[in-house]
Amino acid sequence: MPMAFMLQRNKAAVKAPKKGDGFEFMLRTLVPFLGVFAALAISAVVLLMLKTNPIVAYSAMLQGAFGSISGLSQSLVKATPLLLVGLGVCIAFRASVINVGGEGQIILGSIAGTWMALSFPDLPSAILIPACMTVGFIAGAFWGFIPGLLKARFKVNEILSTIMLNAIALQFMNFLLQGPMMDPEGIKAGTFLAQSARLPESSWLARLIPRTQLHAGLYVALGFAVLVYIFLWRTTIGYQIRAVGLNPNASRYSGINVPFNQMLSLTIAGGLSGLAGVIEVMGVHRRILEGLTGGYGFTGIVAALLGSLHPLGIVPASVLFGGLLVGANTMQRAVQIPAALINAILGLIVLFVSGSALWIHNIIKKRKTAAVVLAPVKDAEQ
């Protein structure tokens, strides 16, 4: 997997969603999705070889993901953490840093948020919920700060360090769930389930549609998509992060602190993943349990790439990926295909999306040169 991300790294340079024209915007948003369809087409061939009718399979998938209120809600439930993780990945990518530590950061965020909610159950929701989110963000940020610092200080490759921190976080969670944080009810009942106590109701995120898990965390994630956009393109820090990612040498020559900005971007990325974790706890499970991360830390990277590393592109990309995850389950049940094939399909999608990014880049480059010629050149000759 990391190879695909590295290939993509240079392409971060390509995407500069300034005020591009309509065509460019269309190209950038549409083509990755066409890539998804192409990947599905190839997977259809594989399905055929397994003597499965791809039309049946895909309609099951579509039906499962978006065909009903409950399916759609479930897709959005999955899209929420994907979006938050993806936004973080996007910020890091813009600074030329690859955050593969989403899983660990999600865990840290959920632990901190849960601790907060369990420790202050009597606080009113209006205080407790933001407090939990803040604490979750900070914990995730801390888990992003560590590899950031290692990179800035000792040039430790962030891919390695974030993956290792994932493992540490996972073991830490296991330890807590088997011991200090284990649900007292479970202990009393003798089930000893590896899960935390249930969160106080004051910390629950509102459900948006009855009898579904869709929760208000979706709004928070969408809000952050806008914030991240503003952050990257309207603030001095965002400007520096993008400069560092596009040309570290020129940044250095201009007095921009390259290692600091990379560390900062990884810290923020961690924070957003941490937020995804605490929101997942408060909105869906209302407690920490095993398998809480659901692979969002990795899938979020793919969503970020599919969204062209642009905050507002990651929104539909996350929804699509949420749908794919939900739909894939339905499909697997409907046509009885091995789970590994689902992963293969997702992998193909990554490949096609990265490939189409390169293709778009070439087209836009050609058009840009033409555009420069076309635009009236301000004749400034003395």
């Binding site: 340079a13 390509v14 500069a16 300034k18 005020k19 309207r234 603030t235 001095t236 820090i237 400007y239 520096q240 993008r242 400069a243 596009l246 040309n247 040498n249 020129a250 940044s251 250095r252 020559y253 201009s254 007095g255 921009i256 840009k368 040169t369 033409a370 555009a371 420069v372 010629v373 076309l374 635009a375 009236p376 050149v377 301000k378 004749d379 400034a380 000759e381 003395q382």
Partner: protein, 519 residues
């Protein structure tokens, strides 16, 4: 060689690209046994005109006649068949194949089905002996120097029987020594009856090599002149459209010492000591030229001065204040500015817009932000002002800077740095790879800045340029200063020798030794 083309005649050539008339009714002719230069600034249409002859572009008007017969080339294969070859600015070779394989590669073996490398190798050896094209057919192309790769390209064209060969800016990638070698080869080819088109924007090369010179400007032909006896300024006027301003004679009235470099030692990227005790000083209102072959420590010195390379020992005083251990931002705040040598690597963020590139440093300036938010209005106003003031040609402020020409990028970098009104400016190779018009402009700006009281340290490999601009000239060789001279006390020969590390034993010591120079 039988069937050599005697004459090529291009008449009334018109070529349009979306929104630009790249060739506007151009006549061009070439005879066997001559080198005909196409001279013009970037974007004049030189490459386009020749790509039409080579069949890469289709003409929109006009005609091409070979030995009197009108021909139309639909592809490079067509024109190759007719005996016309082109060597592009970017070579088209496969690095993982040998020279012989590369030469054989383009040959469609319509008769033979097997690759007959032995015959190819023999033919390469013949060609290489006949024209002095030294290459080993069995070398991997990836292992060859740029100059050698170019020879392979020439052999490729000759192998395919090209009697007319077009060379698109062949010297742009070569070292001076390689340029000399190339010219010897080209002259031999002319003697053998080939006709050559030599594309360039360098005047001295064109006059040294060619028989006739055709000048293009903005897609129009400005005229053809015989190279013998042509006046340099006439060619410049044809290229640029106006006379270049003479650099006026200037009074040298140095002010206070602004920058003092004492015993500065520093290591290069490989860890070896590259600066071995540099002593220099630059005064307000003077340009100190630093001459030297590149790689003798100029880059490292500039980096030490601006603060992105660690100084191992020594002092750097800016207006009397030791800045040797200060961060770059502090130095900039104290009045330091740099025009980096590697413009595209260190001076600009290619994918950023023109406007964003203006603020690589200044975006933190209170004037251009409100809290952490960028103030786009003020940024745009400032960028617009600079673009106008420094005559940077760009379609819009939003255009990615990589779409601008080298000269315009350099003007923008210069505008950005000078807008801060620096007290000390380090200008590292400011005109390298920049066309004549922009170079002239940059020179004028540097002089204006000098007259405004800035202390300027100018490095350049181009001695003529240094000699024309500097008030004093220092020579750097292997990380030491070989000497510092007042401009009028030295000449280009002396400087050239010093640059090669040779101290002319009989040359008189400069009457002003370093110390008294400063006083």
């Amino acid at each position: 060689m039988a069937g050599m083309i005697q004459q090529v005649q291009m008449t009334g050539i018109v070529k349009r690209f979306p929104g630009v008339l790249a060739c506007n009714n151009i006549d061009f002719d070439l005879h066997a046994g001559e080198v005909h230069a196409l001279l013009g600034e970037n974007g004049a249409g030189k490459s386009t005109l020749m790509k039409i002859l080579y069949g890469m572009y289709q003409l929109d008007g006009g005609s091409i006649a070979i030995d009197g017969a009108v021909r139309r080339f639909h592809s490079p294969a067509d024109s190759l068949d007719a005996g016309i070859g082109m060597i592009h600015q970017h070579f088209m070779l496969v690095p993982t194949m040998t020279v012989a394989q590369n030469v054989a590669l383009g040959q469609s073996s319509d008769k033979k089905f097997l690759l007959d490398l032995k015959t190819v190798t023999e033919r390469i050896c013949e060609l290489s002996a006949a024209y002095g094209l030294k290459v080993n057919p069995n070398d991997l192309v990836g292992h060859l120097s740029v100059g050698e790769q170019q020879r392979v390209e020439i052999i490729k064209a000759l192998y395919r029987g090209a009697s007319i060969i077009i060379l698109d800016e062949p010297t742009a990638v070569l070292t001076p020594q390689e340029v000399d070698d190339l010219f010897i080869i080209l002259k031999k080819m002319v003697k053998e009856g080939h006709g050559l088109v030599f594309i360039s924007h360098k005047l001295h090369e064109v006059t040294a090599l060619c028989d006739r010179i055709t000048v293009l400007r903005d897609g129009c032909k400005m005229g053809t002149r015989p190279a013998a006896g042509v006046e340099r300024h006439e060619l410049i006027k044809m290229m640029v459209g106006r006379d270049l301003k003479e650099l006026s004679h200037r009074d040298y009235k140095p002010g206070a010492e602004r920058l003092t470099i004492t015993d500065v030692r520093a290591s290069g990227d490989r860890g070896t000591e590259t600066l071995k005790g540099i002593n220099l000083s630059v005064h307000a209102g003077e340009i100190l030229g630093l001459a030297g072959v590149s790689g003798n420590g100029q880059l490292e010195l500039a980096e030490c001065l601006i603060g992105i390379r660690k100084v191992d020992s020594g002092r750097i005083l800016l207006d009397g204040l030791d800045i040797a251990s200060m961060k770059l931002n502090e130095r900039i705040a104290k009045g330091m500015a740099i025009i980096p040598e590697e413009r595209m690597r260190d001076g600009a963020v290619n994918d950023f817009s023109v406007q964003d590139n203006v603020f690589l440093h200044d975006h933190t300036d209170k004037e251009f932000r409100t809290g952490i938010f960028l103030n786009f209005k003020k940024m745009a106003a400032h960028a617009k002002k600079l673009v106008g003031e420094y005559t940077v040609k760009t379609p819009t402020l939003e255009t990615p800077i990589k779409n601008l020409s080298g000269g315009n990028i350099q003007k923008l970098i210069m505008a950005r740095e000078l807008a801060r009104k620096p007290t000390v400016l380090i200008a590292a190779q400011p005109t390298r790879g920049v066309d004549i018009g922009a170079s002239e402009y940059i020179h004028q700006r540097l002089l204006m800045q000098r007259d405004a009281g800035t202390a300027i340290l100018l490095t350049s490999e181009d001695l003529d340029e240094l000699y024309a601009l500097s008030d004093r000239i220092a020579v750097i060789y292997e990380g030491t200063i070989m000497g510092v001279f007042l401009r009028q006390d030295t000449d280009i020969q002396t400087l050239g020798l010093l640059m090669a590390g040779i101290r002319p034993g009989d040359a008189p010591k400069p009457d002003l030794p370093i110390a008294s120079c400063e006083g």
